[in-house]
Structure formats: C-alpha cells, structure tokens
C-alpha cells in the first residue's frame, strides 16, 4: 500500500510539473501577458511598470524558475482583477463547486443506479429500451439549453424555484438536476452493463440453487461485485466536474464556482488568476484520482493497483 501511494504521488508530481510547464509556455511564449492585461490606451511607461512588477523583464530562464518555485509554494501572485492573492480567490470558490457537484452526484446516483439495475434484470425489455434511448438523449442535450429550459418551466412559468444565483438549498435544485440529467445516462449505462456482466456468472446460479432469495443475491452479491466500474465512473465524473467542467451549468445559473470564475477571469483579462485556476484544477483531479484508487483497494481486494 505504501509503495502504491508513493508511486501515485510521484506520477502526480510529474503531471503537475507538465501542467505548470504548459501554462508557462502558453502564457509567456504565445502571447505578451502585459499587453493583454493593459488597456489599449496604456503608455510605454505603464507597460514597463507592469512588466517589472510582474517580473516579466527578467530572462526567460529566471522567469521559469520563479514560476516553478512559486507554484511549489502555491504562490501565483496577485489576481489583477481582485487585488488579492490569486490562490485565495480560487480557494474561495471551491466550496461552491464542491456543493454543486456533490448534490448532482447524489441525484444522479439515486435516480440512475436503480434504473440501470432494473434495466439489467430484463435486457431487451421495455425498461431497457427506454433507458438506452433516454440516456442517449441525456448525453446529447446541451447543458446550457437544458438549463435554460428548466429555468423557463420551473422558474418563469411555474415560479417554484429561483432562476439563478446562490443562497438557500432551493438555488441548488435546478443546477444539480441539469448536471445530473446530462451525466446520468452514462451512470445508468455502466450500471446496466456491469450488472449484466455479473448476472451471467456461475456464482449467481449457484447461490440461487442453494435457495437464497432473489433480492438477497442481487443486493448482497451481484451489486457489490458490480460496484467497481460504477464507482470509477462516478469518481471520474466528479473529478472532471470539480476541475471546471461544471462551467456551463455554473454560467447558466450564475453559480459562483470554479468554472464561472474562469470565465470571469477571461473577461477581466486576469491571466494570473487563470494560471492559478488551471493549477488548482489539475491538483484537484490528481488528489481525487488518488483517493478513488485507495477506495477501490478498500472495497475490492481483487484490485492490484501497482
């Protein structure tokens, strides 16, 4: 286990180094960040002052060293837009995204895992066929459109829920459902195929032949064995959503999370903030993936991760 953890940690460090190098390359080589941040009317003096204050007048190698050592200390400099350390701004938004993603995953699991299970019991049956086409529609639905339509029906027409913003739990309902409905199809499908795979194994016949009840076998044996791919997918989807993939939903509902912050940083031309965002998002994914691997090892002794 310790060897496994050390190995995961090492590969995490490699990934983070690559990300940092890419960010450095994109922001220093492909463009002049000073020009982007300054208004068009800025004078040469303004330019020089900002360049010096960002350390961009140094040699590229020096800059790269500063950048890497800054990233290690999690110091990315001050957000141009907010005037406070960029990392603080990013961390301030993390809880909102976490709230949204966990709520939507709860909805998706409660709705779609039982659906996938039910469909797997009768492959080719009416429920199965509905599930296959419904999940296709869910996956094909543009989130920004589904979100807008939900707002139109439940906020504008029926007046049951607020249109956007954050605050009480009622603000969380529509964004969480939008996210859950568009990713739920995948969860239902993987549940179905994983269950089917297990249901066809001889141990199921043996247990049934021994006289064990249908639902006992189903929940105590089949479901537990089928769980691994489902947990993998949920972890994967959560990690991506945490890393900014919830940006569309956050924008539709003005939810103050990571993704929306990225869009705001673009509008504010705040490259420092964007750099911090990319770094933190990558870090979140590395951490979530490592935790997920540890969980697999705990729920399934068959997993040999090294």
């Amino acid at each position: 286990m310790i060897r496994f953890l050390a190995w995961r940690l090492l590969s995490g460090v490699v990934v983070m180094t690559l990300v940092t190098a890419t960010v450095f390359f994109v922001t220093r080589m492909l463009t002049d960040p000073v020009r982007i941040m300054l208004p068009l009317s800025a004078s040469q003096e303004d330019y020089d002052r900002l360049e010096a204050s960002l350390g961009l007048d140094q040699h590229l190698v020096t800059q790269f060293w500063e950048f890497i050592s800054g990233a290690v200390r999690l110091d990315f400099g001050e957000s141009f837009w907010q005037g406070v350390p960029a990392l603080e701004v990013v961390i301030g938004r993390l809880p909102s995204t976490f709230q949204l993603v966990s709520a939507s995953m709860v909805v998706a699991v409660v709705l779609f895992v039982p659906l996938g299970m039910a469909a797997s019991l009768k492959p080719g049956g009416w429920l199965d066929r509905i599930l296959v086409s419904a999940s296709l529609f869910g996956l094909s639905m543009p989130q920004f459109w589904l979100g807008s339509m939900l707002i139109f029906v439940f906020s504008v027409k029926l007046g049951w829920l607020p249109t956007s913003g954050s605050g009480g739990p009622e603000h969380l309902v529509l964004p969480a459902f939008t996210l859950a409905l568009t990713s739920g199809g995948r969860i239902a499908q993987i549940t179905r195929s994983s269950m089917l795979d297990q249901l066809n194994r001889p141990y199921v016949t043996t247990l049934r032949a021994k006289g064990m009840g249908r639902s006992y076998v189903l929940f105590r044996h089949v479901l537990r064995n089928a769980l691994l791919p489902i947990v993998t997918l949920i972890a994967y989807e959560s990690a991506f959503a945490m890393a900014g993939y919830a940006v569309i939903v956050e924008t539709v509902f003005a939810w103050p999370g990571i993704g929306r912050l990225a869009v705001q940083a673009v509008t504010q031309r705040d490259i420092v903030l964007l750099q911090a965002l990319v770094f933190v998002a990558a870090l979140v994914v590395v951490v979530v993936n490592t935790i997920a691997d540890v969980i697999y090892k705990m729920i399934d002794p068959r997993v040999n991760i090294s």
């Binding site: 960010v23 920004f144 459109w145 900014g244």
Partner: protein, 314 residues
C-alpha cells in the same frame, strides 16, 4: 475473395454493395430518420444564403421578439419568430448549421487523420514507440483540459481556426487508441502475416491491408466525434469563448437571448433544439454503422430476418 478481377465486375460489385447498404438503412426506420435529418442540416448549411428568408444579421427593431408564426401574433416572414434585435430566428438557425458543420468536419478530419496515423504507427511498430505514444494519449485523456483550453483561447484570442485547433488537440487520442487496438488484432490475422511473408513493405501493408480493414471503426468513431465536437463548439460559443458575433452559432444564439427567456422563449428554444436533435441523430447513425459493419451482429440480424419472413413453422 473472387478471382474475377475485371474492372467492369469490380464496379458492379461496388454498386451491389452500395445498394445493400442503402437497403439496410431503409430497413432501420430510426437510422433512416436520423440520416434524413442530418442530410437536411447539411443541405441547410451549404445552401444557407439561398434558403434563409432573411440575412442572418438583418436587424429590424420594429420586429423585435415577434413570436413564431403559429402563435397568433406571429407573422409569415418570421416563421420561428424574431429575437430581441428583430433578427429572424429561422435564418440564424440555418446559418448556425454552417459553423457547426465547418468546425465539426475540420476537427474530425484533423484529429482523425493525426490520431489514426499515431495509432497505426504505435500498433504496427509496437515496443517502446507504442508505449510512449499510448502513455501520452492516456495521460491526455485522463487530464481535464477544459481550463487549459480556456486559458489558451483567452491568450491567443478566439477565431474559427483557433477553435478547430484546440478542439482537435483534445480529440486525436480517441482515434489513436481505437486504431492501435484494431491494428494489434489485425496483426495476428493470417492474411496480414501472408502479406508480410510475401514481401509486402510496411507502407504498402498499412495502405493496402490495414487501412481498408480499419475504415469502418474509424468512420463510426468519426461520427461520434462529430457529435461531440459540435456540442463542444456550441458550449464554447455559449461561454463567449467560441464563435464571436457577427458570426452565427447555435451556442452563441442561446447566450445572446438568454435574458429574454421570459419574453421570447423561442429565441432560446429552437437553436438548442436543433443542436440537440443533430447530436442525437449523429449518435443514432453511428450506432447503426457499428452494428452494420460488425459481421457478428450482421449474422444475428440475418437470422432474425429469416425467422420473421419464413416464420417459425419449420
């Protein structure tokens, strides 16, 4: 394989094959409807300047938020209504198809050709080349690049070539993995080994023996990617990072009109609906293509057909 290799009979064979393909499409009602819809969208995109009743950016403030034609207050000149600037929603949806198709085609071709080439080389050469290339593909596949994409676009600015480029950078891996997997299987086949033994060089082997057998899976994957790409383009445009006004994109239309949801739902509803149905249709055709090109599934279908036509009396 037939030993008759005269050009005339080869042409006849191809014709027959094509005819069989069309017939099997006609048998599958869902796939047929989906391909007809895609054909309509392609035609609309190509013929936009002749089909659209209005120029896409024609502003007419006296016609702002005119509802669709069937809703009582609507007029015949704005079939799907007008947006907050009095621009015709139908015309803009038709022009939006152009951008979606352009971006979709370009990305699928760039990513498909590059990814397939990588997969072909990795699968054929094996060894260290394979390990390095596939590790790279896996790493990129596992890494959520959306924020990096946003950073790149914000730094170099948004234009259609940039959008095609960044989406393609995140699309080649899936082709590489698919092609590599298939090449690994094919390499063990007798006809490939026979070709190698007959002195067939690597380039000729890839072109004449490997690629023809890879076309069906690549085409299926290309369809699925096409669907994904137009969804990504629309999403980027919705965020203001993709297609910029005065160009028209379905995603941009939804973003522009969202504040008028209360007064004019049709300005948001129709562009999104067309986008969603297009994506569904592409997925349906892809899954038909997959079943169609899988010999095992084909046998199953044929058996089922026999049962249906001959009955089970035997």
């Amino acid at each position: 394989m037939s030993d008759d290799s005269s050009p005339a009979s080869a042409a006849a064979r191809i014709r027959k094959k094509r005819w069989r393909l069309i017939r099997s499409l006609a048998e599958d009602k869902v796939a047929l409807a989906a391909s007809i819809f895609i054909a309509v969208i392609v035609l609309a995109g190509v013929l936009a300047p002749w089909l659209a009743p209005h120029p896409p950016s024609e502003v007419s403030l006296s016609d702002r938020l005119v509802p669709p034609v069937w809703s009582g207050d609507g007029t015949g000149s704005f079939v799907l209504g007008a947006d907050a600037l009095g621009r015709d929603v139908l015309s803009r949806v038709i022009y939006g198809a152009r951008v979606s198709l352009l971006v979709g085609f370009s990305v699928v071709i760039v990513a498909g050709v590059f990814g397939s080439a990588v997969g072909l080389v990795a699968g054929y050469r094996g060894g260290r080349v394979d390990t390095v290339l596939m590790r790279l593909a896996d790493a990129q596949l596992a890494f959520p690049g959306l924020l990096l994409v946003i950073l790149i676009i914000s730094v170099i600015g948004s234009s259609i070539p940039v959008i095609i480029g960044v989406i393609a950078i995140y699309g080649w891996m899936i082709f590489a993995r698919l092609v590599r997997g298939n090449v690994l299987q094919l390499r063990e086949e007798l006809f490939i080994r026979a070709a190698v033994m007959a002195g067939c060089g690597p380039l000729r082997l890839m072109r004449r023996h490997l690629l023809p057998n890879l076309m069906a899976p690549i085409l299926t994957q290309a369809m699925l990617e096409f669907a994904r790409v137009i969804l990504v383009e629309a999403s980027l445009s919705y965020l203001g990072l993709g297609i910029q006004s005065p160009n028209v994109s379905w995603g941009l239309m939804v973003a522009e009109n969202q504040t008028y949801l209360r007064e004019g739902w049709w300005t948001v509803f129709f562009p999104g609906l067309v986008l969603a149905v297009t994506v569904v249709a592409l997925n349906l055709v892809a899954s038909w293509l997959r079943v169609r090109s899988d010999p095992q599934q084909q046998q199953l279908l044929a058996a089922r057909r026999r049962v249906r036509t001959e009955g089970v009396s035997a």
